[in-house]
């Protein structure tokens, strides 16, 4: 058997339960891994000692929360806003694009063209009506470039997420029928927190220069683009949406139910098959991913979910007559189910089994 990575050995020190049983058993019986573990442990202890702060043990007693709060409240009352750049995590949209669902919308925008009239006006080329997994080894998924590797992405309407009081308020804010769970899985209790987000949209402009750069960086050479592709514009939109989360004070929610208006893509410029075929010809997209994307890009209605075969197992199921994709972590830590129906995407996920999330999904009111 292959030796577990250094990262796995490191986690073994802190969270042995987060390491697969097979890896734990292997390390216990492997002299080479045990010696590696000793080195990892030494470095971890050295770091802990270097980063030690003397008041860490009872920091809650020594840090004066009241004084801190009064200072903050006075600063706010005085109109201070804080340096925007200091605490702003870089590129919300970039992060969103890394999220498999949204990232896929981007790729689909380019790959999944429907039959398109060659008009100069904006026309819809993609609307998610079903969801299907694209499975590939993680290494291949990592190789998939993001949209901004092919051109310029300008966010025209940012996702603003805010908490609302209850399901009724969420429904009012989004115009969606808010899914209600009829029976909670065992171990999940209480009322969910509702958050809503408005419509998000972005404008993508294809750039041949950037594409050539991306392909060159991956060691390839981009073929000459078909006429008209350089500078073509695509308008991406998704939302509004609502999330109900049962967190019970934990950092990772036990159960979440998400519903959102499915992503759409509009285009102006070249026929979409042209863009799709060109992008599929680039060496940056791994062959197995290309093959799967080709298989369902014909109608422009399938939202691909990128799934790492090492981490997740994908299967299909039926949620009240609608085909759904079920994803289950191979370590059993979480599962989710996602489906699209009439232009609306719904997902149920949590630290639950696939059977439990399906049962919640089928019981949604």
């Amino acid at each position: 058997m292959r030796h577990p990575s250094d990262g796995t050995l490191r986690r073994l020190l802190d969270e042995p339960s987060g390491v697969a049983g097979t890896d734990r058993d292997h390390v216990a019986d492997c002299a080479s891994c045990l010696s590696g573990l000793a080195v990892v442990q030494e470095d971890a202890e050295a770091a802990a000692s270097a980063l030690d702060i003397r008041f860490a043990a009872d920091v809650e007693l020594i840090v004066d929360v009241d004084a801190g709060w009064h200072r903050l409240a006075s600063a706010i009352a005085g109109g201070e806003t804080g340096p925007e750049t200091a605490a702003d995590p870089p590129g919300r949209w970039r992060t969103k694009l890394r999220n498999p669902v949204v990232a896929i919308v981007g790729v689909v925008a380019l790959l999944g063209g429907a039959g398109v009239a060659a008009a100069a006006d904006w026309f819809q080329i993609f609307r998610a009506e079903k969801v299907a997994p694209v499975t590939a080894p993680r290494a291949d998924l990592v190789r998939l470039p993001e949209l901004d590797a092919f051109g310029d992405l300008a966010v025209t309407s940012k996702i603003e997420v805010r908490q609302v009081a209850d399901a009724a308020a969420a429904g009012k804010a989004t115009g969606l029928s808010v899914p209600r769970v009829s029976r909670l899985p065992r171990g999940v209790t209480g009322e969910p927190a509702y958050r809503v987000g408005g419509k998000a949209s972005a404008l993508f402009t294809f750039s041949m220069a950037k594409t050539a750069q991306t392909v060159a960086a991956a060691g390839g050479k981009a073929p000459p683009p078909p006429p008209g592709l350089d500078g073509s514009r695509f308008r991406l939109g998704a939302g509004p949406g609502v999330v109900a989360a049962w967190s019970q004070g934990r950092p990772v929610p036990a159960l979440i139910v998400v519903r959102a208006v499915a992503p759409t893509v509009y285009s102006s410029g070249v026929p979409f098959e042209t863009a799709r075929d060109y992008l599929l010809s680039l060496p940056t997209v791994p062959e197995n991913v290309k093959a799967q994307l080709r298989a369902f890009t014909g109608t422009g209605t399938t939202l691909p979910l990128f799934v790492s075969v090492e981490k997740m197992k994908a299967s299909t199921a039926d949620v009240r007559g609608v085909p759904a994709t079920v994803l289950a972590a191979r370590d059993g830590a979480m599962a989710g189910v996602i489906w699209a129906d009439d232009g609306v995407v719904t997902a149920v996920a949590g630290s639950l089994s696939a059977r439990e999330v399906l049962s919640v999904a089928r019981g949604l009111r």
Binding site: D6, V40, A47, G68, L72, G82, A87
Partner: protein
């Protein structure tokens, strides 16, 4: 959303503002729950409680008008504290005067020799942290501040599996840096 901070524990009320400018209604609640940890994250980087409290103020000021979902506030604040503290390390601002003062309020040093040794150690650790790749430095500090692998993963947009790898690399690099710049004695 409410445009007024909660009045709790004698907190200061904030006047109504347009919603875009509004101070989040849950600010005090989040502040009271998260402040010690945010200070601790920054203190691990800066080695000084006073400076860490300054960083925590900056971070909460930015948070006050943000739309970060309440459930993600803890992770967001911790990451922001780590980045802001690391930025401060690199810019070196206020560093000299702080070190002259040699008083971070949270440390009681028994004698002057200890104070000098401690300051030198901290200086070396800060310098080493500043040289680590940013993502490694943040993962390292968050992990040693008590965030779980899942929390670090969520906060940095990593998979829990790669948190171990990132932290491991950071610890190895930190030790190398510290050894390379170890005092000669």
């Amino acid at each position: 959303m409410a445009g007024v901070a909660e009045r709790k524990g004698g907190g200061v009320a904030v006047s109504d503002r347009p919603s875009r400018e509004a101070v989040r209604a849950d600010l005090e609640e989040v502040f009271r729950a998260a402040y010690p940890r945010v200070v601790a994250v920054a203190a691990r980087v800066l080695g000084s409680r006073d400076e860490a409290e300054d960083v925590a103020q900056e971070v909460f000021l930015a948070f006050a008008r943000s739309s970060v979902p309440a459930g993600e506030a803890g992770g967001w604040l911790s990451v922001a504290a780590a980045h802001t503290a690391l930025n401060q390390l690199r810019s070196g601002r206020r560093r000299a005067s702080r070190e002259e003062a040699a008083d971070d309020g949270g440390t009681v040093c028994p004698d002057v020799a200890d104070t000098v040794v401690t300051l030198d150690e901290r200086r070396r650790v800060r310098a080493a942290l500043a040289r680590l790749p940013r993502r490694q430095a943040v993962a390292l500090v968050l992990r040693h501040s008590g965030l779980s692998y899942a929390e670090v993963a969520a906060a940095l947009d990593l998979s829990p599996g790669s948190v171990g790898t990132t932290v491991r690399r950071a610890e190895s690099a930190l030790r190398e840096e510290l050894n390379r710049h170890a005092p000669s004695e």
